[in-house]
């Protein structure tokens, strides 16, 4: 039966599934990467995702316009990011704790709004699968990569964009400087506060899109706590990816592919107990982290407060 796994249908299924599953992780983790590279840990990602998911869903249902839904999710995510930035940069709150606070806020508010404004679980017509001309006809590869919905494509496109910004632009240089040595950056005229505001708001915006990608593209439904801790995994993936966009992509893909593998294992009746199968992505992630920990280095100022004149 393990040989079943190697059949073409199954392999294609696993890979296509893995790509889809990776999408929300990518948005959230890329956004978090910016924040963490600038020295800020945001644990509220899951809450931002839930607010983004609800907003996109509600706007899409009420207006029938999916892009308006995405836009609203971005606005909501940005607002939450703004609040987080204020709390972190101006109020110097302990980042881990304030992040959890925002998570709980997003979790509760999204559910409250859902109960008051919608009241019952329903579906929406989300982003449809788009077949990229020519490319989607390539056997195997076409099916896996080029028959997804538009948000999936954008998520993957984000990776090289994020890499470019972080490594090849002045903005990226400033971000990295603020994350490594904010005092030095400050002395050179870089506004630490402004950079951090930017990265945190950007992170919030992308988390909002991550949530929207679930509620109006992948699953097309909103339900209380539908992210189910996904945001926290996304934060972990930033560590896993060594704070580099391509690393984050690798981490998201690894995690999601193993997840989709365990789904197929169960469906094919391969005699691995379901409990073990379900653990696989998490165990693998931990193993890889342990293997690579000595070779990566976090931004030096991560989670440390910065106050001018310290």
């Amino acid at each position: 039966m393990i040989s079943d796994l190697l059949s073409m249908t199954v392999l294609v299924g696993i890979l296509a599934s893995g790509i889809r599953l990776a999408t929300p992780y990518l948005y959230a983790a890329i956004g978090e990467t910016f924040g963490q590279r600038s020295g800020v840990l945001n644990l509220g990602v899951d809450g931002q995702m839930l607010m983004g998911a609800f907003t996109a869903f509600y706007v899409a249902i009420k207006t029938g316009n999916l892009w308006l839904g995405i836009l609203s999710a971005m606005v909501v995510g940005a607002l939450m990011g703004l609040a987080m930035a204020f709390v972190t940069v101006n109020l110097h709150a302990e980042q881990g704790i304030s992040g959890i606070g925002f998570y709980l806020f997003g979790l509760g508010l999204s559910d409250l709004l859902f109960q008051k404004l919608l009241g019952t679980v329903e579906t929406v017509k989300g982003f449809p699968k788009i077949h990229i001309p020519f490319l989607s006809d390539i056997p195997v590869v076409g099916e896996i990569f080029f028959r997804q919905n538009v948000l999936v494509y954008i998520a993957f496109a984000l990776v090289p964009v994020a890499w470019f910004i972080l490594n090849k632009t002045t903005l990226g240089l400033k971000i990295r400087a603020v994350g490594e040595n904010p005092e030095a950056a400050d002395s050179l005229g870089v506004s630490v506060a402004r950079i951090r505001y930017f990265t945190i708001i950007l992170g919030g915006t992308l988390s909002g899109v991550a949530g929207a990608s679930m509620s109006i593209a992948l699953v097309n439904v909103f339900q209380q706590n539908m992210t189910s801790g996904l945001g926290f995994i996304a934060v972990a993936l930033v560590y896993f990816g060594a704070w580099r966009p391509w690393g984050v992509l690798a981490g998201a893909l690894l995690f999601s592919l193993v997840n989709s593998l365990q789904l197929w294992i169960q469906v094919l009746g391969i005699p691995i107990p379901s409990d073990i199968a379900v653990m696989m992505p998490y165990i693998l992630t931990i193993l890889v982290l342990v293997a690579t920990v000595s070779r990566v280095r976090a931004p030096s100022a991560l989670t440390k407060q910065f106050e001018r004149g310290d």
């Binding site: 299924g13 889809r20 706590n225 789904l263």
Partner: protein, 650 residues
């Protein structure tokens, strides 16, 4: 001339004066020392009764029942010399009725009966003005605390229940129709009792209820009956005076009729099976005895099967099969003996319930099933005035849930429900600290041996089996997919039952099972469903709140969906075939009854197909082929009567 005319005038005046004198009522010869003298049996003083009624004395229903009762008592007492009866019927305008009531009271009637719950507020004003008059008011239990008002009510759900049992036993189409007036008072009681009796006899019977919004609109009642017949009903019932319209329609189409309040046999002797006849005289006798002793009010009475105030009268011209008649007698005996509790227990204070749940109350699954049950129980108990409930949902973090449970107990809630097996260890610590609070925990059978914990569970494999049977019968690809949460508890039971049912129907069917490892991860559930579809499944099922993700995939791919815990038909009306719906209220009602009797825990309950705690609900929008539907119904019957044993295999 003048003198003559003066003489005539004086004589005339004298004549008039004398005439006036002689027609004067003689003053009471005997002075009664006071109204408390109980020596009434000997004195044959005329007892004068006046009654005000909203409809005609020959309405074959509400008003007739009271008028007939008065006639019965009058003849028992010896006729018109012993008891005088006057009535004002057709008093549907409350102000007219109030005027009549006041007039009767001021004319010195001993007992004035306001036969209609709508007369209550008028009576509340009038009665205190006439402390020497006794008033009786129904149907209600409220005497307003005024000591010259008696209240009387009918436990009409009892006869309704028996009628329902009979109706379900005799129906050939399995569809019953109810024509109700307005959803209130003894009408609602009767209908609810009828539905309960029918369902208890045959869980698959369909009872369509129509409240036409009027007590008197005969034409509308006839139309309602026509609608029922068109929908396939072959047995009808109804209450209030407008039913004569419905009875006519029933007779025309050959449907059977069950009556209440009065005997309606004479209207259609060929189709009326039985009537629950109100014998108000049972109550009136007691009232009149009390008046004789000098008590003019302050008590409320109920007529029921036990005290003979309600009597099931069978139409002698209708042939009931012997076993059905025996079942009816048995049911009457059980109800009279108190074995069947139809009405909610009454508590001194508002009964307060709190529930803690792991997911949202509108998750279309686990938590929603409990929330819906509480709403239903609240209605059963009499609304917010009788029972209040609060909830904390989304408590997937066990410590938060434990804090909530402890808080509720400390705030003095009567019943605290921990709706999630993960709350068990917390509950084990908390319950002993609050011995006066009753706790309920599910899904499990373990009460930890603690005296104030009830446990409840779902035999979800039963509905799972039925779903599996239907799925296997309908599948064209021969592949089915299951999206499960974690391999435990009622989720595992459901999945195992589904697999067993599918294999029993088609041994070659392939059922792929996938436990995604989470109760809430919608995205993963969606992927799992996609995986099943890619593997060829055209029928999917799953349990727990994450299934909404899977249902979306089913809809996209055109696969069938089979639901459990709550009805998921609304989410994908074109794809959902059937749902096993949990009715936790079956358990909650027993728990409330036990708390009323002073037991706060120590028992565990199971909902299943037999006790109506699990109900197979077929999606009306899905065209199920007739032979599959009857296979499903036979399967349900087989599980309920034990002829089908569910065997879990590999």
């Amino acid at each position: 001339m003048k003198k003559f005319r003066l003489l005539v005038t004086v004589l005339l005046l004298l004549a008039v004066l004398l005439g006036a004198c002689t027609t004067q009522e003689p003053a009471p010869a005997v002075e009664e020392p006071g109204a408390e003298e109980p020596a009434m049996e000997e004195t044959k003083e005329l007892f004068r009764v006046a009654v005000v009624m909203p409809s005609s004395i020959n309405d074959l229903a509400f008003s007739q029942s009271m008028y007939d009762a008065l006639l019965t008592i009058q003849s028992e007492m010896g006729g018109e010399e012993a008891m005088e009866i006057v009535y004002s019927d057709g008093m549907f305008v409350v102000d007219d009725a109030a005027a009549a009531i006041r007039d009767y009271a001021s004319e010195g009637y001993n007992l004035v009966i306001a036969h209609g719950s709508q007369y209550g507020s008028s009576l509340q004003e009038i009665a205190p003005d006439f402390p020497e008059t006794s008033f009786a008011w129904g149907t209600t239990v409220d005497t307003f605390g005024i000591d010259n008002i008696f209240a009387y009510e009918a436990a009409s759900d009892q006869g309704g229940y028996v009628n329902g049992v009979l109706a379900a036993s005799l129906s050939k189409t399995g569809i019953l129709g109810v024509v109700g007036p307005i959803e209130t008072g003894d009408a609602k009681l009767y209908v609810d009792g009828f539905v309960a009796g029918a369902k208890a006899t045959d869980p698959t019977v369909q009872v369509n209820v129509n409240y036409i919004g009027s007590f008197s609109d005969v034409a509308l009642a006839a139309e309602a009956a026509n609608t029922h017949i068109a929908a396939g009903a072959d047995v009808l019932t109804g209450t209030a005076q407008m039913v004569v319209g419905a009875i006519g329609v029933a007779e025309e189409s050959g449907a059977l009729w069950f009556g209440t309040q009065a005997s309606q046999t004479e209207l259609a002797p060929s189709i009326v099976v039985a009537n629950q006849v109100y014998r108000w005289d049972v109550v009136l006798n007691e009232i009149m005895d009390l008046i004789g002793e000098g008590t003019f009010g302050g008590t409320s009475f109920v007529i029921d099967l036990a005290n003979g105030g309600e009597v099931l009268e069978f139409n002698p011209d209708f042939d009931i099969p012997a076993d059905v008649a025996a079942l009816a007698e048995e049911t009457i005996a059980e109800i009279s003996g108190g074995a069947v509790a139809l009405q909610a227990p009454k508590f001194e204070d508002v009964f307060q319930v709190a529930v803690v749940m792991p997911s949202s109350i509108n998750d279309l699954a686990f938590s929603q099933s409990m929330y819906d049950a509480l709403v239903s129980v609240q209605e059963w108990m009499g609304g917010e005035g009788a029972m209040e409930f609060v909830y904390s949902d989304g408590m997937f973090v066990v410590d938060d849930a434990a804090a909530a449970i402890r808080d509720y107990a400390a705030e003095g809630f009567d019943l605290v429900i921990a709706h999630g097996s993960q709350y068990g260890s917390s509950l084990q610590e908390i319950a002993p600290d609050f011995p006066e609070t009753s706790f309920a925990w599910g899904t499990t059978v373990d009460t930890f041996g603690i005296g104030n914990i009830f446990a409840y569970e779902a035999a979800s494999h039963e509905g799972g089996y039925v779903n599996g049977v239907i799925a296997a019968s309908l599948s064209e690809t021969g592949v089915l997919g299951v999206v499960g949460p974690i391999e435990t508890g009622d989720a595992k039971l459901y999945v195992d039952g589904f697999v067993a049912g599918a294999l029993a129907t088609n041994p070659d069917i392939q059922v792929n099972v996938n436990y995604i490892g989470s109760f809430s991860d919608v995205a993963l559930a969606s992927e799992a469903a996609s995986t099943h579809v890619a593997a060829g499944a055209d029928g999917l099922t799953g349990t727990a709140q994450m299934v909404v993700g899977a249902i979306g995939v089913a809809e996209e791919s055109g696969a069938m969906w089979f639901g459990t815990q709550a009805s998921q038909s609304g989410l994908a009306p074109a794809n959902v075939v059937a749902n096993q719906v949990y009715h936790w209220d079956v358990v909650l009602k027993e728990v409330v009854q036990m708390i009323a009797d002073g037991t706060y825990g120590g028992t565990s309950f199971v909902i299943d197909l037999a006790n109506g705690g699990e109900v197979m609900d077929f999606n009306a929008d899905y065209e199920l082929p007739a032979e599959v539907k009857s296979l499903a119904l036979d399967t349900i019957k087989g599980i309920v009567d034990g002829s089908i044993t569910i065997v879990f295999g590999e």
